[in-house]
Symmetry: C2
Subunit: 279 residues, 2 copies
């Protein structure tokens, strides 16, 4: 039976703890806040928890579930306490700026991204079932030890997630398309509506907006810290997708300007046909 | 008690018939298709129905519920049969290209737009409750008779809709922002994803896409005829909103390019604050 460490006991870390303890693993947590430690024990997220990292020296696998900007510094602080065979994995939503650095710090590392979430956060937000049927991406490199791949594969199967393998770069390209680009284009919708100078029209727009506007603007009106993090940590791929997007938008503007209805209709039909492949 | 005519017995016309008959009006329909006539009677949408327009000569108010492109020709065909005091209203989702022409054809006209819908269409799709708490916009002009405004106001109250008054132009500007622009930017998302040349990344994107992509792409992957109609009949306002949108998108691209995170964060925060005002 394996011992599993979890640093960061929010939605992802907390859900991992609950789920893995239920599957028979022993879980060990670290938190600097006493309230979080108490609550994590009460909720059964961890078997043991401490303020410092030394508790984790008995772990076979450690999940780094902190916010993205804290991942690298956390691993730096953690490694003096570890035995060399301990595997580290992270759950960050970008990989290209994380995986090479962590692989350098700790060779027994494998990058991962469980693509599950709710709008909740904190030690009370985790629950059993979060990962059920959700994608879980692993991004091993040529240097990643086979043992790390095997153990993570086993665990992801236990979580009942859909496992995908790709390179850190492929991961970041794919999530730019389906997650980070939508946030920016959805946010631009809200931004541009607010630019309406005729206040009667703006007021009317607010009153008439219904499900179409609601859905299209949803991710753009979400947590600003998350949006900022995507832009900061996946800027290259996000920019690439934004530029491609703008080119497509320009073609639509041109079609309408030139009253090229055949072209526009073709695009709209293609969209209708293609969308189900993403769902 | 008023006699009400309905031309076009799909979702909007059918729901109007069911609703208004329930409120005690007598309703009269016209359809060239025997099946539609039979079904409209069976479902209780109309009290009487015929193939030709002459049945409608007893109506006080006639709703034109055809697709947008048929509204003007329908009214042209209809007016030889009407008594001059009959009020005509339409339910088209654009007003600037419809209202001036219909006002010219029939002075006793008032433009309207009930903003309710489902994905269903046809004579079996209408139902009581469709207009409940939905916006219903009336676009009277200086020439619109007060009697037409008063009768429509009374009926819209009976439908329990939220009534708004504005000019045809203001209507088209507002719906460009909250309905027609979202379709184009949402469709461009699907278009641009399909441009990904790395097939492994495209496949991965399809597998990883979840609720964020689903919501942002929904209206862009909808009925192509509707999208085309918006572009054709509201091209001027749609173009204006698209150009404003592109300017905002360019600013976001610039922020990311220049790593101007303060600017970007400000925009994302503004979006989060502003969105609830549209819901």
């Amino acid at each position: 039976m394996k011992n599993i460490g979890i640093i960061g006991l929010g939605l992802i870390g907390g859900s991992l703890g609950l789920e893995l303890r239920e599957k028979g693993f022993r879980t060990f947590g670290v938190s600097q806040r006493e309230k979080t430690r108490d609550r994590a024990l009460e909720r059964g997220i961890v078997d043991e928890i401490s303020e410092g990292y030394s508790l984790l020296n008995q772990c076979d696998l450690i999940f780094i579930c902190t916010p993205i900007e804290a991942i690298i510094s956390t691993v730096q602080d953690l490694i003096p306490y570890l035995k060399p065979e301990t595997i580290i994995t992270d759950v960050g939503s970008v990989k290209g700026k994380i995986v090479p650095k962590l692989s350098e710090l700790w060779s027994n590392f494998i990058g991962g991204h469980p693509m599950a979430g709710t709008t909740q956060s904190g030690v009370d937000s985790g629950f059993i079932g979060l990962f059920d049927n959700a994608p879980y991406v692993l991004t091993p490199t040529e240097q990643t030890p086979q043992k790390a791949i095997d153990l993570m594969t086993e665990i992801i199967k236990l979580l009942n997630s859909r496992l995908y393998f790709c390179s850190p770069e492929e991961h970041d390209q794919a999530v730019a398309w389906i997650s980070h680009l939508p946030v920016m284009i959805s946010g631009s919708l809200i931004q541009s509506c607010l630019k309406e100078k005729n206040l009667k029209v703006l007021e009317l727009a607010k009153n008439l907006a219904s499900s179409g506007f609601k859905d299209t603007s949803r991710v753009g009106g979400g947590n600003p810290e998350l949006g900022l993090m995507m832009a900061k940590y996946n800027s290259q791929e996000l920019l690439r997708s934004l530029l491609e997007y703008r080119e497509n938008l320009d073609q639509i503007i041109e079609d309408i300007n030139n009253e090229n209805w055949t072209n526009l209709e073709q695009k709209l039909k293609q969209n209708q046909q293609a969308r189900p492949n993403f769902l």
